[in-house]
């Protein structure tokens, strides 16, 4: 065990059973300014975790005794937020895939370049600190992936100003959490953050919810009501599912955004409001605009800076950390011991498709923890949780889209990718059929030849 003194840029634990390799890594990292603790085996490393409290661990994969993969699982069962970089002498793709599934931050092949190692360490030590502290930007967002790191960097830069932000992303990805992070890092953080789901409230009610109403403005309006714009005065108004806002209301919203004045329903006077608008949708707003379902002028007014919230499938490397986060949170909330997933369960959950994204994952963890008596959640329970997790009921439009997509794929399969025949079967002309394929991102060419698996591009 050696300790090198260095400025407090970060504490690293380096594990390798080859003393020469350990010396080399400790030298590189120590000279780069990190405080380095070295361990010659996994058991030694686990002992050191409590003492040196590393910000990041670098471990060899193949070691006598405890291997790197087991060490990774053990470290994360103690503290899921420590990023682990894996080094391997062999570039075995299955190992790299498994390590990624188990939540490794990076997988590097030996001989490793000094610059490559330092770059990875700098990246993960930094992103993880952002994700782990409660005072940093986006502390509610758990991530290791570079895609999230870049998104948060961008969002943090935007937070300071008053610029209108538009967040696009699937349901359950955490769009509101991101919006709130932007609000909290902004000069408006002392004023309210108010979120409203534009798709969940009927048009008539939404108008009075947003803009308020006068007493007697309509049947049942027995008192004067300040709308959400006024309630959020000085702060941020988060308009979720903006794509579902009825057209009639879109024009009224546009007027507010132009003048920053609201006129409550039944009133003749406008009230000035000072709010920052963050809007979000899971819909393709470009398409809604081209279909005439969303006003183009409002679109440009809202979409000043677009941020894209990735789906969980696009940030699979975060799944391990998210699972651990929700396990720890559940234990803290219930004052109980933190449970953990069996490695097979972890692998299963990491490979799952997660159509409901982080929200679905949080629900699945809740279900697993509640139904598991022991400390370790087995594979069968994880499978059960994903099967039984009540799926979000699709909107009619989503269901139609899904059906249409499946239908197009099956027709193309039957015709082996021949678009003319497929169009004839579908009762559409070829131009229309191509348009449909384009809308669904389906490549007819992928169905030509011997392919039976219906490969598509999307």
């Amino acid at each position: 065990m050696t300790e090198q003194r260095a400025p407090a840029e970060g504490r690293l634990l380096v594990v390798d059973d080859d003393q020469d390799m350990l010396n080399l890594l400790a030298n590189w990292l120590g000279n780069a300014g990190y405080t380095v603790t070295s361990a010659l085996c996994g058991t030694d490393a686990l002992g050191q975790i409590e003492i040196c409290k590393p910000d990041l661990v670098i471990t060899d994969l193949f070691m006598d005794g405890m291997d790197g993969m087991t060490l990774l699982t053990e470290i994360h069962s103690r503290n899921p937020l420590i990023p682990v970089i894996m080094l391997s002498g062999q570039a075995q793709i299955p190992d790299a895939v498994k390590a990624t599934h188990l939540g490794t931050a990076a997988f590097l092949t030996k001989p490793v370049e000094k610059s490559e190692l330092l770059a990875e360490v700098a990246r993960h030590a930094r992103t993880e600190r952002n994700g782990a502290t409660s005072s940093g930007f986006g502390s509610e967002l758990i991530y290791r992936s570079s895609v999230m790191s870049e998104l948060l960097d961008q969002a943090e830069m935007l937070a300071g100003g008053d610029i209108t932000v538009f967040i696009n992303g699937e349901t359950g990805t955490g769009k509101e959490v991101l919006a709130k992070a932007i609000h909290e890092a902004s000069p408006r953080s002392g004023a309210p953050f108010i979120g409203v789901n534009c798709g969940a409230i009927p048009e008539q009610l939404l108008e009075s919810e947003l803009f308020g109403h006068e007493k007697g403005a309509f049947t049942g309006a027995t008192t004067k009501h300040d709308g959400l714009f006024q309630a959020a005065d000085g702060g941020t108004l988060f308009l979720d599912e903006i794509g579902d806002m009825p057209l009639g209301l879109q024009v009224k919203l546009l007027r507010v955004l132009q003048d920053f004045e609201v006129r409550p329903v039944g009133s003749t006077k406008s009230v000035p409001v000072n709010v920052r608008i963050i809007s979000a949708t899971h819909n393709n707003l470009d398409k809604l605009v081209s279909d005439g379902e969303f006003r183009e002028d409002l679109y440009y007014r809202l979409n000043v800076v677009p941020l894209n919230m990735p789906s969980l499938r696009e940030r699979r490397e975060d799944i391990g950390a998210l699972l651990d986060h929700f396990l720890v949170r559940h234990a803290q909330k219930n004052n109980s011991k933190t449970k953990r997933f069996d490695p097979a369960a972890l692998e299963y959950l990491t490979a799952a498709t997660w159509p409901g994204n982080v929200r679905q994952l949080a629900n699945a963890v809740e279900l697993c923890v509640t139904l598991t008596k022991g400390e370790v959640i087995p594979l069968a329970m994880a499978q059960k949780a994903l099967r039984e997790e009540p799926g979000r009921i699709q909107t009619l439009k989503e269901a139609k889209q899904e059906f249409e997509r499946k239908y197009l794929i099956s027709v193309l399969r039957v015709t082996s990718g021949n678009v003319a025949s497929a169009a004839a079967i579908a009762g559409r002309n070829r131009t229309e059929f191509y348009k449909l394929l384009g809308q669904h991102g389906i490549d007819a060419g992928a169905f030509r030849g011997e392919r039976e698996d219906g490969a598509e591009t999307s």
């Binding site: 080859d18 003393q19 020469d20 390799m21 010396n23 080399l24 030298n27 590189w28 000279n31 193949f62 080094l87 002498g89 030996k110 001989p111 490793v112 000094k114």
Partner: protein, 101 residues
Amino acid sequence: MSEKIIVQIDPDLEDLIPGFLNNRVNDVETIRSQLDSGNLDEIRILGHSMKGAGGGYGFDRITEIGDVIETAAVAGDLEVIRDAVDQLADYLARVEPVPEA
């Protein structure tokens, strides 16, 4: 015949280099004795370690030889191992690390 091989090294690693090279000299001994006793697994591990660390210390040649030794140990090719170990011994005898200015 025994011409020196000058290798530029990272000055930060200067203190570690003699120990690293000395360990490789020991490896030569170990591999030769393991060749006699046929313990290929031990040889494979030594080759693997050399491959992983050699280039990092500035000795790409050691990484190359380590790779050959590891691969040959997996394949059970004693001739190739013997030849590689001779090359390693020769390299170690001639190499002269010089800190980069």
